[in-house]
């Protein structure tokens, strides 16, 4: 009955929430704001033990509305956020963090920094695990902002340095930023997680002050600690660091080898392949062939002309020298049942020819060597190339026809 409905606070609360949800999902911000003002009443009788309490809901809904509402501004938003922070004690840090994010995205860096410092000093009872994590993040973001200030000072100093003028005060300020940033950044990257931004900043700081050992240790830890997720970027950063340090080819290759093992489709594999191809050792050249074959297995590389030219170049070398044909044979063995359909269909020949002639040239060379001169892809491309009177394609046809026996040896 209606009377019952009037009395049943919970029921009307739920109804109100469903109206709000409906309005939000249809982007009716004004309507949802009106409903939200009604919902605020529910705070008075908040005995709920639900996963998300009314205070958190109000915070979330209110934030969303203020993001999109035509008449809202940053000041109003900050005011709302301050209220929300006091409303839910348990969520204080979370709300702070989100407030900071909003400020950062809108470019209010200084205000964000103030908020972070304020949040850092917040204490309330015993910290839960989640609050602990949030606190660490707050510190890390403060470190990040300190780093930004540091790099700003650094740029000023470098510009001035070119003028042969050094400012001690600026330098001192810069160092203090360094210390503040380093302390906080160092903390967060000890905890397992994805900390690309923080690691990059920290390593930059360390490198600037010449602490290469610490930087190497941090990067090694980030890449090889098994508690961390298998993040390809960790290996990329390490590789880039080693490159900057002018390390030997051997250590660069070993860093990339590990990256190849975890992500065979990483874009650095082209660099890796060229590096290996240049090597004098047979084993490394062999690895190079493996690497480029493995990369081309992936759908994302299908139309990568650079990769195909790497493969074509290396295969051409092998065919001309007639040494190590068994390498090709071994790589081809596990692919011969699906590469023809995946890479060398007639449909693809047509499309590649239309869209990218040099890609189709490289692919046709590979197809001609692997599948012989009767392969659909090679036939179509070489035919089109000869018809268009492109010298390159005529040479290609000659080359493949001359070396057709190789195909028999590979497939046999």
């Amino acid at each position: 009955s209606s009377n019952e409905h009037k009395l049943n606070f919970k029921k009307s609360k739920e109804a109100c929430l469903s109206y709000i949800q409906d309005a939000l999902l249809q982007k009716q911000w004004k309507r949802s704001a009106e409903f939200l003002t009604c919902y605020v009443e529910s705070l008075e009788k908040d005995y709920s033990r639900e996963h998300i309490g009314p205070s958190e809901m109000i915070w979330r809904i209110g934030t969303e509305i203020l993001w999109h509402h035509s008449q809202s501004n940053v000041k109003e938003f900050s005011c709302f956020m301050e209220q929300m922070k006091t409303l839910g004690v348990k969520r204080y840090l979370k709300v702070c963090l989100e407030h900071v994010f909003r400020l950062l995205c809108n470019g209010h860096i200084d205000e964000a920094y103030q908020n972070l410092s304020l949040a850092e000093s917040w204490r309330f009872g015993e910290q839960t695990a989640i609050q602990d994590k949030e606190m660490k993040l707050i510190q890390a973001y403060r470190g990040l902002l300190d780093y930004c200030s540091w790099s700003k000072q650094k740029n000023i100093l470098l510009e001035h340095g070119e003028d042969g003028f050094s400012d001690l005060a600026v330098e001192r300020e810069m160092h203090s930023y360094f210390r503040k940033a380093a302390v906080n950044l160092k903390e967060i990257i000890k905890i397992p997680g994805v900390w690309d931004v923080f690691v990059k900043c920290y390593v930059d700081l360390l490198e600037f002050y010449g602490d290469h050992n610490e930087a190497r240790q941090v990067l090694n830890e980030y890449a090889y600690n098994s508690k961390f997720p298998a993040n390809p970027n960790a290996h990329v950063y390490l590789y880039q660091f080693l490159e900057r340090q002018g390390e030997s080819k051997k250590s660069l290759i070993s860093a990339l080898k590990i990256l190849h093992d975890i992500v065979p489709s990483h874009e650095l594999m082209i660099d890796f392949n060229t590096m290996l191809q240049k090597s004098k050792k047979r084993k490394k050249r062999r690895l190079g062939l493996e690497v480029i074959f493995a990369a081309l297995d992936y759908a994302g590389w299908k139309e990568n002309a650079k990769a195909w030219s790497c493969l074509a170049r290396q295969m051409k070398q092998i065919v001309i020298s007639e040494k190590h044909l068994d390498w090709i044979k071994q790589e081809w063995n596990s692919r011969k049942d699906w590469w023809p359909g995946f890479h060398f269909s007639r449909y693809l020949a047509k499309r590649n020819w239309q869209e990218n002639k040099s890609l189709s040239y490289e692919k046709a060379l590979v197809a001609g060597i692997l599948l012989g001169k009767d392969c659909k892809y090679f036939k179509y491309v070489s035919h089109q190339g000869c018809k268009a009177q492109l010298k390159r394609f005529r040479m290609l046809k000659k080359f493949v026809t001359r070396h057709n026996p190789v195909y028999l040896r590979i497939s046999g």
Binding site: Q26, K27, H51, D297, A299, W338
Partner: protein, 878 residues
């Protein structure tokens, strides 16, 4: 595709999820999640920060007030699946007694009661007949002598009613009379063992109930849109199931005008099971469509050109219901199949099935659900396998050795307790190494290069788990659109995400969610725009429109500056509805600038449907009421459709009345007009006889006249005796003749032929012993002669072609055997069918040499049962 140079920060933990679970109705709002420092541009001193969620997206607006039907409803009444009130026990008392979550009580007793009432013959047929005299249903008191052997049932029924009224009462006691009765009869009264029946029923009820709560057989949906290759005309093909049992597969060409319009009639295939899933992928300019039903999976190839006919390629059958079928986007004719027994196959049309994994256990922790899923990844030889606990990728070349975990329900992805995988989907069209995983709480985007850590996570807040998802890849720099759809609640949500952040000066950035999620129209929402119906019709309409969704498809349409999106939704009733969203270019897809809040709310969708949509609604309603019109009841005598027992080909008879029949009819009509009479049913002398020689016994009048005369005179029985002995003699002659011929032919025939013929002979004999003499009685079913063999003496008018009498050819033991009906059932079937054929007295037997030809099927003609003339039944004396 390059790997993002920096990823959004996140914690990484291992182990079971720590966060307490539960639906979080607003968890998806108001959160940026994390921010990432963009690369500062040359001029900018301050770096820009990019949020993980909350960036502006494209603005899409609904073009119409509600979803509009695309296809007219198919004929045949839709039978809604059971509702909770059909299965559950409803009683206020009961609800109070059982508080808490497990409030659902299956109304098992009512269902069993329904069975007893609806199928009394099956439930207690024979004993009911035996005890018939011992039950008294009246109100009067029983008299002394009868009371010894008769029970008065009325009191018992009253007791049962009283019990029903007190149901749920904790202090209910069985009435002693009922107890006594059930104690007495429980063991012997029922035809089917009661315990067994109850077990089966309970199992079925529990199954139905769990399907009602969450039916995962529909995962990924049974609707696909195949865009046409030639980009000029906006045409495409809709692949959807239909028919009353949803076992017809349709390929319907659709023109995308203002409202999508079906063009031509669809290509149609009848399948042997309800279609659960339709999956499609385009490889090398051709579409491959995989169709899954419970025990069969099939694959069709559809050439990209418009108007080209779809070609079925292959079908596989599984012993355990299949739970997944996905089509490879890399290689033509490759699919992956999972069954509920935990087996994953790579299915290639050329090379067949390859088993990749067999594990009835779930992967990461124990979960009871037998649901399994599998999809393709960026590497054509690496497949993902999923169950409710997570996803693994395995290499088809060495599935045992090479695998890695892609997603785990656990702390790694920040899951909640009780979270389960609902639908994984490969997002290859947008990004070759990305994956979508939906759970009942959240949606995750994963990158297979960074396993276990989702690159995007968002709480979708949907009321029912998203069983359907559809990806519409955006052009470089624009957002990809993902549609999530739920089944029971028909919810539809549009999300946008970006992989390449143009925002940060063209450099690579991680995956971010763009814009706010948007709720789209669902099928049920159009009810308010339909013209009002009579109350009961309105109710039916509401029921039909609210049927759970069964599929989702969409397409992006770009016509110069006008971009629009068409979204198709399929319901379990087989209706396909569609809505158009148009793109508003007003909002630039740029990052939020300082202080400049993203623009205000869009215009609300129009309140009334456009005239074209209104017209479509009316057409659809009209077709619906036509399709659902109930056949007039109780006007026709009950008839048994042979089509349920036999396929159409089996029943294929003569196309129309034979020329002889036509002639006869014409003659009859003519005679009736003239008011004259027909003395002899001979074809007119003027017309050339179509048959070699229609038979007419030379001696005496035709058998009918003789019989009638005999009946009139009263010695009809004697006539019958004479006749049977006559026909027995005739049959003896015929069989002897046949054996002689067989003997003669033996030398010439091949071994297999003689084997067939001897087999036939034996079965004929056994059939004779089966049938017994009862069939010889005058009430014997009519003998309908096949075309071309109508004996002149039998009036064909008497047996109209639409007669419900079964075609006798179907009853011959050969044809029954041909259809694989076991011997012991043949008689049952024959008796069963003969019941329906009442009627006309037996026409005379054809005589002479033709008769012998008719009754002895030659070994060549027995194989084609449809054209085989009827073999005569009465064959006493052998």
């Amino acid at each position: 595709m390059e790997f993002p140079a920096t990823l959004f920060p996140s914690y990484f933990g291992a182990g079971p999820p720590r966060e307490e679970g539960g639906p979080a109705p607003f968890a998806g709002w108001g959160e940026h999640g994390q921010v990432l420092q963009g690369v500062p541009g040359r001029r900018q001193v301050q770096p820009l920060f990019v949020p993980r969620r909350g960036a502006t997206g494209e603005l899409w607006e609904a073009a119409d007030a509600a979803a509009v039907p695309v296809l007219l409803p198919s004929a045949g009444r839709w039978i809604p699946s059971p509702a909770p009130q059909d299965i559950l026990y409803h009683s206020g008392l009961c609800r109070k007694l059982r508080p808490g979550k497990s409030g659902a009580t299956l109304d098992f007793a009512r269902q069993l009661g329904h069975f007893f009432v609806d199928h009394p013959e099956d439930a207690f047929g024979s004993l009911g007949r035996l005890l018939h005299k011992n039950f008294y249903l009246g109100n009067a008191k029983l008299k002394r002598p009868a009371r010894n052997s008769t029970i008065r049932m009325t009191a018992l029924v009253e007791d049962i009613d009283r019990l029903e009224a007190r149901r749920g009462c904790p202090r209910q006691h069985l009435a002693s009379r009922l107890r006594w009765f059930s104690h007495l009869c429980r063991d012997w009264l029922f035809e089917v063992p009661l315990g067994l029946l109850a077990d089966c029923l309970h199992e079925e009820l529990a199954q139905q109930w769990s399907d009602l709560l969450f039916d995962d057989s529909l995962t990924a949906g049974a609707l696909a849109w195949l865009p046409s290759e030639d980009g000029g005309t906006p045409v495409g093909r809709l692949v959807h199931p239909g028919g009353q049992a949803m076992n017809h597969l349709y390929f319907q060409d659709v023109v995308l005008e203002e409202l999508p319009q079906a063009r031509g009639s669809p290509a149609q295939f009848e399948l042997s099971g309800r279609i659960r899933q339709v999956a499609a992928a385009r490889v090398d300019g051709q579409d491959f469509v995989g169709v899954r039903s419970d025990y069969h999976c099939g694959v069709w190839r559809v050439p990209g050109k418009t108007g080209a006919a779809p070609a079925p390629l292959q079908v596989i059958r599984t012993d355990v219901p299949a739970s997944c079928l996905t089509v490879s986007p890399h290689l033509p004719g490759e699919l992956s199949v999972c069954t509920q027994s935990g087996t994953v196959y790579l299915w290639s049309v050329e090379t067949g099935l390859q088993q990749l994994r067999h594990d009835p256990q779930t992967m990461f922790f124990r979960d009871h659900s037998p649901w399994r899923w599998s999809d393709f990844t960026a590497h054509p030889r690496v497949l993902s396998c999923a169950d409710r606990t997570g996803l693994q990728c395995l290499d088809a070349r060495a599935p045992k050795r090479c695998h890695f975990d892609l997603f785990k329900v656990g702390e790694e992805a920040g899951c909640q307790q009780g979270e389960r995988v609902v639908l994984p989907m490969y997002l290859g069209k947008a990004h070759p190494s990305q994956y979508l995983v939906t759970t009942q709480f959240s949606m995750y985007v994963l990158d297979e290069r960074l396993p276990l850590v989702p690159v995007l996570k968002w709480a979708h807040m949907m009321k029912a788990p998203p069983l359907f998802a559809h990806l519409m890849p955006g052009k470089p720099g624009r957002s990809h659109k993902v549609l999530l759809g739920a089944s029971r609640t028909q919810e539809l949500l549009l999300l946008q995400y970006r992989v390449l952040g143009v925002s940060s000066g063209g450099s690579q950035s991680a995956c971010q969610l763009a814009g706010t999620p948007q709720k789209l129209h669902n099928i049920a929402g159009c009810l308010q725009h339909l013209p009002t119906q009579l109350p009961h019709r309105q109710h039916l309409l509401q029921q039909r429109l609210a049927a759970p969704a069964a599929g989702l498809a969409a397409t992006l349409q770009e016509d110069g500056p006008h971009k629009s999106m068409l979204i198709f939704q399929l319901s379990e009733a087989g209706d396909v509805f569609c809505q158009r969203l148009t793109h508003k270019a007003a909002e630039p897809p740029a990052p939020p600038l300082r202080d400049e809040e993203p623009c205000a709310s869009p215009q609300p969708s129009p309140a009334v449907p456009s005239p074209a949509a209104a017209l479509r609604y009316r057409q659809w309603l009209r077709a619906l009421s036509r399709a659902c019109r109930e056949p007039p009841r109780h006007t026709r005598p009950p008839s048994l459709s042979q089509r349920r027992l036999f396929t159409r080909r089996d029943l294929e008879g003569p196309a129309g009345p034979s020329s002889l029949q036509r002639q006869m009819r014409q003659r009859l009509r003519q005679t009736m007009q003239e008011g004259g009479r027909i003395q002899r049913w001979e074809p007119l002398a003027l017309q050339p006889p179509p048959l070699p020689q229609t038979l007419e016994p030379a001696e005496g009048p035709d058998p009918l006249s003789t019989r009638l005369t005999a009946a009139w005179a009263g010695d009809w029985e004697q006539w019958w005796e004479e006749r049977t002995s006559f026909s027995v003699a005739q049959r003896q002659r015929a069989l002897r003749e046949r054996r002689r011929r067989q003997k003669r032919a033996k030398g010439r025939r091949s071994l297999s032929a003689s084997f067939t013929s001897s087999l036939t002979y034996q079965s004929e004999l056994s059939e004779l012993s089966d049938m017994g003499p009862s069939l010889l009685s005058p009430s014997h079913p009519p003998v309908l002669s096949q075309e071309g063999s109508t004996p002149a003496g039998s009036p064909p008018v008497r047996s109209p072609p639409t007669s419900p009498a079964p075609d006798e050819a179907l009853l011959s033991s050969q044809s029954l055997r041909c259809r694989g009906i076991p011997k012991e059932r043949r008689k049952t079937l024959r008796d069963y069918l003969s019941v329906w054929a009442e009627g006309p007295p037996e026409p005379p037997e054809p005589l002479g040499s033709q008769a012998s030809q008719l009754c002895i099927p030659s070994s060549q003609s027995q194989l084609s049962s449809a054209s085989q003339p009827r073999r005569k039944r009465p064959r006493m004396g052998f």
